[in-house]
Subunit: 342 residues, 2 copies
DNA sequence: TTGAAAGCGCTAACAA
DNA sequence: TTGTTAGCGCTTTCAA
């Protein structure tokens, strides 16, 4: 069960290994006569030759490996991004190595190290914290890297994501349009760019509509989870501010909002409207179906991959794209309606 | 920004590269004096040495790469398995390369080839069809491989999965226990082992309870999707058999069943009970919350990885495990209740 | 216990 | 256009 190698192909075709290599490699094929390259290709095919990527990588100092780091592949936000990236990369002859950090900084560091040990040509990272020393080190190291989903305060690495500000504005516009004036915000954690960006966008949107200052109308969840969303909502309700609509930092937080509304006997959307963020799968099946902001996750992953490839293969003298935002849309469903008329 | 290599460490420690290699490698460290190995380790640490996995792999003919092939990472069934596998593998010093075939056989073949070009030490495959030539070729090639989630008719490769037969039996037992006698089954596609296995288990369970022969009580969906489930349910309802409970081939099919019941004004669980399979995320949030069979997906992925590692690293003279089934449990929720009493 | 040297499979600079 | 040769960074046999 010996593996066929280049020398075997060369021998079978009656040429030197160097020639066989040139014939097999599309970029060097024109250095070889048509007849010879035909013979080599044929022999390779016949013997079932599969080039050894390790050996090639060792010689060319390129691994054709791209690492992608996600906090938790079980979070439905990430699979579509991974998929989008993988399609682009494998189409370009690259292999995607996926690592899941389990939301743990030490694990992340170890895995990035592993990726570098493999000579990864580049990195796609979805785990950025607002302050993130590891990413600053990576930026300093010069490894081609693109952030997705979240970016860092230092903004030292290019970023691809959705246009979150517009997403929040669309949602608030919608609520205002159907009559809401008292809108509260259950924000996501502020140690991520998404949490900060969306909070800022909410404040701005509310202000632009001349609605009451949101200072006391924002409650911050300390994680993007149902439980954290519920806790933040309880805190909000305990200060008994009155409101007719809730904007949630993401869909899972919206789930927490929904459960607390249920607890307190507040009906959605009759008494309080609710908008989420992300449009995760199955949120159209819950009751009430959630109005939410949809991000083009697959496209984000794909564009991140293309951005990275440009950086890896690019000539380097072109101006680099530092940030790309993709358009988002508001998905209207049953969780939003006019405020109670009394 | 030059990368530190073994020779640099050796020079810094004042030893020969061969010695440095021995000191750095845990399995050969005892061939080196304590003092020397201490010096080498220290130098490596100080210089930030990261070994080049490619070079090592080329020399040792081992890549420490395991490929995992899934049909669609966007399907929530797979992320937990991937995660379980990745944790085991990275704990053992292996890197997981994930590939998504987009449910396409040609893509799958191309990707498996890529994985072999990378010298993958083994494969975990979640895409098995009942008749699957590619997998038979892989089996013949001798590449260590473990199937998860589904197996092939030829059973030439070891398989790790959930105990599906027991899952179906638990579900049917539950329905019978709360009073149902007329149970129908909306099966999944019969070109997968899961579709076949569950169908057979249903027939057997029904028979063992002395319920009416299920021949006309089974409708087959041609895919594990909501749409296919809905279509199969319509076919069932159009032949107007009367029943009080539906067992679905999986959760997505159950979703299709639910929507058709809604269409026809049949209430669940008051008029008809419904049981799913897999316990996907969010199915506890739909209305009614779905009673379903839970598989230990993470554990399945983890065990598949361990099985594979045993095969890769094993001495080869031990008897190999050919199949491992993990325990499942029935999760009772709102979609099942006693049949109507009239 | 350590050093010397060969070689894993491939590519690329140089020579012919 | 093709052959020759060296070497990518590492491990491992052999010798000292």
């Amino acid at each position: 069960m010996e593996r066929v190698k280049l020398t075997d192909v060369a021998r079978a075709a009656g040429v030197h290994p160097g020639t066989a290599s040139r014939a097999l490699n599309p970029t060097t094929r024109d250095q070889v006569s048509r007849e010879t390259s035909r013979r080599v290709l044929l022999a390779a095919q016949r013997l079932g030759y599969v080039p050894n990527t390790l050996a090639r990588g060792l010689r060319t100092a390129r691994s054709y490996v791209v690492g992608m780091v996600v906090p938790d592949i079980t979070n439905p936000l990430f699979p579509p991004m991974v998929r989008g990236a993988e399609q682009v990369l494998s189409g370009a002859g690259y292999t995607l190595v996926l690592t899941d950090t389990d939301n743990d900084a030490a694990t992340e560091r170890r895995q990035v190290e592993q990726l570098r040990a493999r000579g990864a040509d580049g990195l796609i990272i979805a785990t950025a914290r607002w302050e993130d020393p590891l990413l600053d080190e990576i930026a300093a190291s010069g490894t081609p890297t693109v952030l997705v989903n979240r970016y860092t305060a230092s903004r030292r690495l290019p970023y691809v994501g959705g246009d979150e500000r517009t997403g929040i504005r669309l949602a608030v516009d919608h609520l205002v349009e159907i009559g809401h004036r008292k809108i509260v915000y259950v924000a996501g954690p502020q140690d991520t760019s998404t949490g900060r960006e969306r909070s800022a966008a909410f404040r701005q949107a509310v202000r632009s509509h001349g609605l009451p200052s949101p200072a006391r109308l924002v409650s911050v969840a300390n994680a993007y989870t149902e439980a954290a969303g519920a806790a933040a909502t309880r805190k909000l309700l305990d200060t008994t501010v009155d409101f007719t609509a809730v904007m949630a930092g993401n869909d899972l937080i919206a789930l927490g909002v929904l459960s607390v509304l249920g607890e307190r006997g507040i009906r959605c959307p009759e008494q309080v409207s609710l908008v989420g963020f992300n449009d995760l799968p199955m949120f159209d099946k819950i009751s009430p179906p959630l109005t939410t902001v949809r991000l083009p996750l697959g496209a984000i992953g794909g564009l991140a991959a293309r951005t990275l490839l440009a950086e890896i293969e690019g000539t380097g003298d072109e101006d680099a794209v530092v940030q790309s935002l993709l358009g988002v849309e508001l998905t209207l469903r049953g969780s939003t309606g006019p405020p109670p008329s009394d």
